[in-house]
């Protein structure tokens, strides 16, 4: 099940009166439940063995979509570029293995682990995703060029959300 399909399912719950929806495809099962008090749908994954299930908070349906992030600079991620990255079959997407907070540097004010335009080797640390003081250093799995950074420092990321697009060398 792709992130896009799950987003579609969230949309169904958000735009209808459905309180809870469960969809199973093969080993993947996802349950989306509306939290009554603030009408925020909640996603609970039942992932295949070995993958940690995670609950993903989603924005309330009335939340306006941010026009553009003030933190994104020229040459960095924008939704449009992210979409381009997703469409280019030659790019490898680095995805978050957990729900958490994205950090581009080891400490506030420190140099980012990588920047757009950098060439990386397998094993190079790209960022940290923190969840409840569990620090998960995300490493490059392929040698390549960092083409885009798809999230902003300090941003919450979902399970499976694309963080970087890498053009393999």
């Amino acid at each position: 099940m792709t992130l896009e399909e799950i987003r579609e399912l969230i949309k169904v719950v958000t735009e209808t009166a459905i309180a809870e929806l469960e969809v199973q495809r093969g080993d993947n099962r996802v349950r989306i439940r509306r939290v009554a008090e603030n009408r925020t749908p909640e996603v609970i994954y039942a992932a295949p063995a070995g993958v940690a299930p995670a609950s993903i908070p989603t924005p309330p349906p009335t939340a306006p979509a941010p026009a553009s992030s003030p933190a994104s600079r020229a040459g960095e991620a924008t939704p449009e570029k992210a979409a381009e990255g997703l469409l280019d079959p030659n790019l490898t997407l680095v995805k978050s293995p957990i729900v958490g907070t994205f950090y581009e540097a080891p400490a506030p004010g420190a140099q980012p682990f990588v920047q757009v335009g950098d060439t990386v080797q397998p094993g190079k640390v790209l960022c940290i995703i923190e969840s409840m003081k569990l620090m998960n250093e995300i490493e490059a799995e392929v040698a390549g060029l960092i083409v885009s950074k798809l999230v902003v420092n300090g941003q919450a990321v979902e399970y499976g959300e694309a963080l970087f697009a890498i053009k393999p060398l």
Partner: protein
């Protein structure tokens, strides 16, 4: 540190003792990368660059505290389980009832007694634990925030039995997590921590400051905070402080 005593009490475990090192986290991560077994423990007499969250340091005065890292099986609520375990081990040896500030700061009389940080290294979790035992004082700016068992109880403690008790509790909580899943850990945390429900807090979260009242944990262990504007916030990482004495 009587390392022979520790080794005798941990048969079959790989125990590495370093009288001084920069950080046990780096040593333990390197051992993990070389294929060291789960349960391997690295203990330091002192750390010259003890690690905290986001590049912060952990004050590691020579032979005053317990500074160690151990290799564990990863789990998303491992950090919560470790907070419970450290609190439990301290209670059994020192007879003190600690509070836990979500996700896992161990507090005594509102001040930080122990800190826990976990880093994933491939398929292994490297858990770093610092416990303030016999510190007579803390340098500024920690003096208002940190405390030790000596400062709170007036008694100096042997660190070795405390280390063994904490390691036994960690083994027990990890076994519970492995065998029964996350819910018992979430339930125990909710019962144990004054921060879980009904606590007025201020939280630095995703670049903003949230003020509100805690409303328990969600099924993943994230802290729910009812903001003063009525919205429910899901807190993904630390920075939770009581409303009155808020500081990041």
């Amino acid at each position: 540190m009587d390392v022979d005593f520790v080794r005798r009490r941990l048969p079959g475990r790989s125990v590495v003792y370093l009288s001084s090192t920069d950080t046990t986290m780096r040593e333990a991560a390197e051992l993990a990368a070389r294929g060291a077994a789960l349960g391997t423990i690295v203990i330091a007499g002192e750390q010259t660059a003890g690690q905290g969250r986001h590049g912060r340091s952990w004050h590691s005065e020579k032979e005053s505290g317990l500074y160690f890292s151990l290799l564990l099986k990863p789990d998303l609520v491992l950090t919560l389980a470790l907070g419970l375990a450290v609190s439990d081990g301290i209670a059994r040896v020192a007879g003190t009832a600690c509070d836990i500030r979500w996700p896992n700061d161990v507090l005594l009389n509102g001040r930080k007694l122990a800190g826990i940080l976990v880093q994933l290294a491939g398929s292994v979790a490297v858990a770093g634990i610092g416990i303030n035992v016999n510190h007579g004082r803390f340098p500024a700016p920690l003096d208002g925030e940190a405390t030790s068992l000596l400062l709170e109880t007036g008694r100096a403690l042997d660190r070795e039995p405390l280390l063994i008790a904490v390691l036994e509790s960690i083994a027990a909580y990890c076994r519970l997590l492995d065998q029964t899943g996350r819910q018992p850990i979430l339930d125990m945390f909710t019962r144990h921590s004054s921060y879980a429900r009904g606590k007025r807090v201020r939280v630095q979260h995703l670049g903003e400051t949230i003020t509100g009242t805690t409303e328990g944990l969600d099924p993943s262990g994230f802290l729910l905070v009812r903001k003063d504007d009525g919205a429910l916030a899901t807190i993904l990482a630390g920075g939770v402080r009581p409303e009155q004495t808020a500081s990041a």
